[in-house]
């Protein structure tokens, strides 16, 4: 078997180039940290990596929704607390209003206090996140849920129901306000509107002609309504607490799911540094050896002996 001189040189050079190419590939893997830099490196891994990327992105979107839900429910919790606070102050005033020791001007002062409580309550129950979502927003309303109707009675104008968000989970983030304030259930009778009742007791107290007995009767009735409202709010607050807990659980599950996804993705496309470095060393040695061998062989020539 003859070996042509030009071919021998070219072949050695090609060999050195090939070694250098592999060395460069090893180096690229190490510096990019990726085993799969392009789909052809590992088509199945590249396809799976895309699916995992998408899963991560969806989970991120769900986390944003969860965060929104948590925010709404926290606001709801605070709002209910504040509403109960106002209702309890109103109760104090109502108890006082029924006292026989009051004069009509005293009763008028109580009326002023009650009016303030009523305004405060209205402000509290109309709270929201400032971006169109109301705590007692029902199924979703653009205007405040509790508003005066044509006869100046406060009514609940939001559509009944709740707003739910979430794709892989479902969280109700609003409350239906009618059952706590404007349509409070009463055993053996029609539902009551707390605001209308407050309005009527305030009117009675402002009227100098009202007797303390009459005042007491009206006030007692309203106190019962207030108590029922506080009761309902207490139950609602428990529900909100449960929902918040649910979000905590959901968030934790997502976090560990995220970690799983991230580690699967890393397994697929990240380079294993130990084996990459060892490959790099191997390739470096091979390139070195190829060059040494060529340097030796290239010197051999019969012409140097002639």
């Amino acid at each position: 078997m003859r070996i042509a001189t030009a071919y021998a040189h070219q072949s050695a050079i090609d060999g050195i180039s090939e070694r250098q190419r592999r060395l460069a590939d090893s180096q690229q893997q190490i510096s990019s940290g990726l085993r799969v830099n392009r789909p052809s490196d590992d088509p199945a891994a590249a396809a799976e990596a895309e699916r995992l990327r998408s899963r991560e992105a969806r989970v991120d979107a769900e986390k944003r929704t969860l965060s929104f839900a948590r925010q709404m429910l926290s606001t709801a919790d605070n709002t209910i607390g504040d509403a109960v606070g106002v209702l309890q102050s109103a109760r104090e005033s109502l108890l006082l209003a029924g006292s026989p020791a009051l004069s009509s001007s005293d009763r008028a002062s109580v009326a002023i206090a009650l009016r303030q409580h009523r305004e405060q309550l209205l402000e509290v129950v109309n709270r929201g996140d400032g971006m169109g979502n109301f705590v007692f927003g029902g199924r979703g309303t653009s205007a405040s849920p509790f508003a005066p109707d044509a006869s100046s009675n406060i009514v609940y104008q939001a559509p009944s129901g709740t707003v739910t968000v979430g794709e892989s989970f479902s969280s109700e983030v609003s409350l239906d306000g009618s059952s706590s304030f404007t349509s409070i259930a009463r055993p053996g009778g029609p539902t009551e509107n707390l605001f209308s009742q407050l309005d009527s007791v305030i009117a009675a107290l402002e009227n100098p002609a009202t007797t303390s007995g009459a005042a007491s009767t009206v006030a007692t009735g309203v106190i019962q309504t207030v108590d029922r409202s506080i009761d309902r709010l207490g139950q609602t607050r428990t529900v909100v607490g449960e929902r918040l807990k649910g979000i905590d659980v959901r968030e934790q599950a997502m976090e560990s799911g995220s970690i799983d996804t991230a580690s699967r993705l890393s397994d697929l496309i990240d380079v294993d540094f130990a084996s990459a470095l060892s490959n790099f060393n191997q390739n470096q040695t091979a390139a070195d050896a190829a060059m040494k061998a060529y340097a030796q062989v290239a010197k051999l020539s019969l012409f140097s002996y002639l």
Partner: protein, 542 residues
């Protein structure tokens, strides 16, 4: 005495010729395409009066050390390697387009889904609504720019093909010229070795572009034909190659071979071999498949979101307007159709579109529809016809028997893709049953969000289809790379075998120099001996 002188002189001559030849081999050891030469000697057996043995040695010629079969093998394996490498290199570029998942279509889709998640939390927030429209536009934009990169790759590959055809034409003209020059040396004693070397180099270069069969005549001229027998060079006549639009798909090319007598033959690229075939397969097959898959995904997305928008109410209580407009499928008649029929195609259901274009043929009584991606054939007697989510109808005219039409579907949708709505109020977040406060109702917004996974692109989800596309591109590139590696290895082996025989080895030539110098010295000695004997004779005579 003169006989001895003559014998010595012929030996000197032979040795000198060999020395010259060795020198020529040494000088050209690195010349590409140079085939080493040997001086051919034969004994001069003329035994004249008074002679005993013979009349010395004749230099009968200079032979190229060449084996036709090894050369043919080297050329043909190189041709296959060129074909595979051309496709593999092009596929590397296609591979790169899909290399970064963060800039892919899936990422743009998920960005859009994230904005819809925010929409279902805050449907009334106008900045959230504006963000949704921006992400819808972003998705359309991403699809359009991905598709544009694919069509750019196709265009640049076809540009390369045109360049190769020009080069091939130059080579054919050169081969014809060489044939003429070789013919002119016919009858001379030694073969025109340099011309033959040049001829072989030209043939090897030609084979890298198109696969060509070479038939050598005794005098060294060559007639070159394509694999299917079309003449490329006959004697001093070279054919001219050009790219002509395919009759069915005017954006693809066939090879036209024009002979000198005015006739031209059309050959399909796949049969042509060499880099032209490799590049054509990339431009027409690989690119088309990727574009079709992208188009299919876009059709499904547009159909599902537009439908869901229409099923809900926007901020004013009106049914939602479409999110996307897509391109219109086209139906073109093949060049050479006898009839006057113009067909039209429209999308009936974007979620059922297949990732393929179609060829439709009329045989006189039936239409035959071939799905180009998988070869699936269906036939029906009349139009209009619904198939694969499309409606094919006869626009005008009548078809003649044998007419063919190309229906471009998946590949036309993306160039025409755009976001159709710029008014945030037109996003339909409210369910159709809502009677007021539509902007605050999130139920249809949630349905839009649910499309992320529920949306069907011919039965699979968007991300699943896109991930498959990435996998398919990767597989095509990987297997093309493997094929190219294999055929390059074969080409290397064949080249080495050829080189073992035909290339110069400097050490060998060095040894020859020693040998021929000694032969020269020995023959010179013969002459000297003859001269001395003559002198002796003269001296003896007086």
């Amino acid at each position: 005495m003169s006989d001895l002188l003559r014998i010595g002189a012929s030996g000197l001559n032979a040795a000198y010729a060999q020395l010259q030849n060795a020198g020529q081999n040494i000088a050209n050891a690195a010349t590409p395409g140079y085939v080493r030469r040997e001086v051919q000697l034969s004994e001069n057996r003329n035994v004249g009066a008074g002679m005993v043995s013979g009349s010395g040695v004749d230099v009968t010629g200079v032979r190229r050390v060449y084996d036709q079969f090894l050369s043919r093998e080297a050329v043909s394996t190189q041709s296959s390697a060129s074909q595979d490498t051309a496709r593999s290199d092009a596929l590397q570029r296609l591979d790169s387009v899909f290399a970064d998942p963060a800039t892919g279509l899936g990422a743009a889709f998920d960005d859009m889904m994230q904005s819809l998640a925010d929409l279902s939390s805050r449907p009334a927030d106008s900045s959230v609504r504006t963000a949704v429209l921006a992400r819808v536009d972003g998705f359309a934009d991403r699809a359009v720019s991905l598709d544009a990169r694919l069509t750019d790759l196709r265009a640049s590959t076809q540009g390369r093909m045109a360049g190769d055809v020009d080069h091939a034409n130059d080579l054919l003209a050169s081969i014809a010229r060489i044939n003429r020059q070789i013919g002119q040396t016919a009858g001379s004693v030694s073969a025109p070795n340099a011309l033959l070397d040049q001829r072989d180099t030209l043939l090897a270069d030609l084979n890298k572009i198109v696969r060509a069969n070479a038939n050598f005549a005794v005098d060294g001229t060559v007639s070159v034909t394509t694999q299917s027998g079309e003449p490329l060079v006959t004697g001093e006549q070279a054919s001219t190659l050009s790219l002509v639009p395919d009759r069915l798909d005017a954006t693809a090319f066939d090879l036209s071979i024009a002979r000198g007598n005015g006739t031209a033959v059309r050959v399909e690229m796949a049969a042509v071999g060499g880099s032209l075939a490799g590049m054509a397969r990339f431009a027409d097959d690989d690119i088309a498949a990727s574009r079709a898959r992208l188009g299919q995904i876009v059709a499904g997305v547009a159909q599902a979101f537009n439908d869901q928008q229409a099923g809900g109410l926007d901020a004013t209580g009106a049914p939602g307007s479409p999110f996307f407009t897509v391109g219109t499928p086209t139906a073109s008649a093949a060049a050479g159709n006898g009839g006057s029929a113009q067909l039209s195609v429209s999308i009936a259901n974007g979620s059922a579109i297949k990732a393929s274009d179609y060829a439709l043929a009329w045989d006189g009584s039936n239409y035959q529809l071939t799905r180009l991606a998988d070869g699936n054939v269906s036939s029906f007697a009349a139009l209009p016809q619904s198939v694969d989510g499309l409606t094919i109808s006869l626009g005008s005219g009548t078809p003649a028997q044998g007419d063919r039409f190309l229906l471009r579907t998946a590949s036309t949708l993306i160039p025409g893709l755009a976001a159709a709505t710029s008014d945030p109020a037109k996003i339909a977040t409210a369910s159709a049953s809502t009677t007021a406060d539509w902007a605050s109702d999130n139920r249809n917004a949630k349905a839009l969000l649910a499309l992320g996974d529920a949306l069907s692109v011919d039965g699979a989800s968007v991300i699943s289809r896109y991930a498959s596309l990435i996998g398919e591109v990767g597989t095509r590139s990987q297997s093309a790379q493997a094929a190219s590696d294999m055929s390059m290895r074969l080409a290397d082996d064949a080249a080495r075998s050829r080189s073992e025989l035909s290339d110069v080895n400097l050490d060998e030539e060095a040894a020859h120099l020693l040998q021929f110098q000694q032969a020269y010295a020995a023959s010179a000695k013969v002459i000297a001996a003859a001269n001395e004997m003559f002198r002796t004779l003269l001296g003896a005579l007086g």
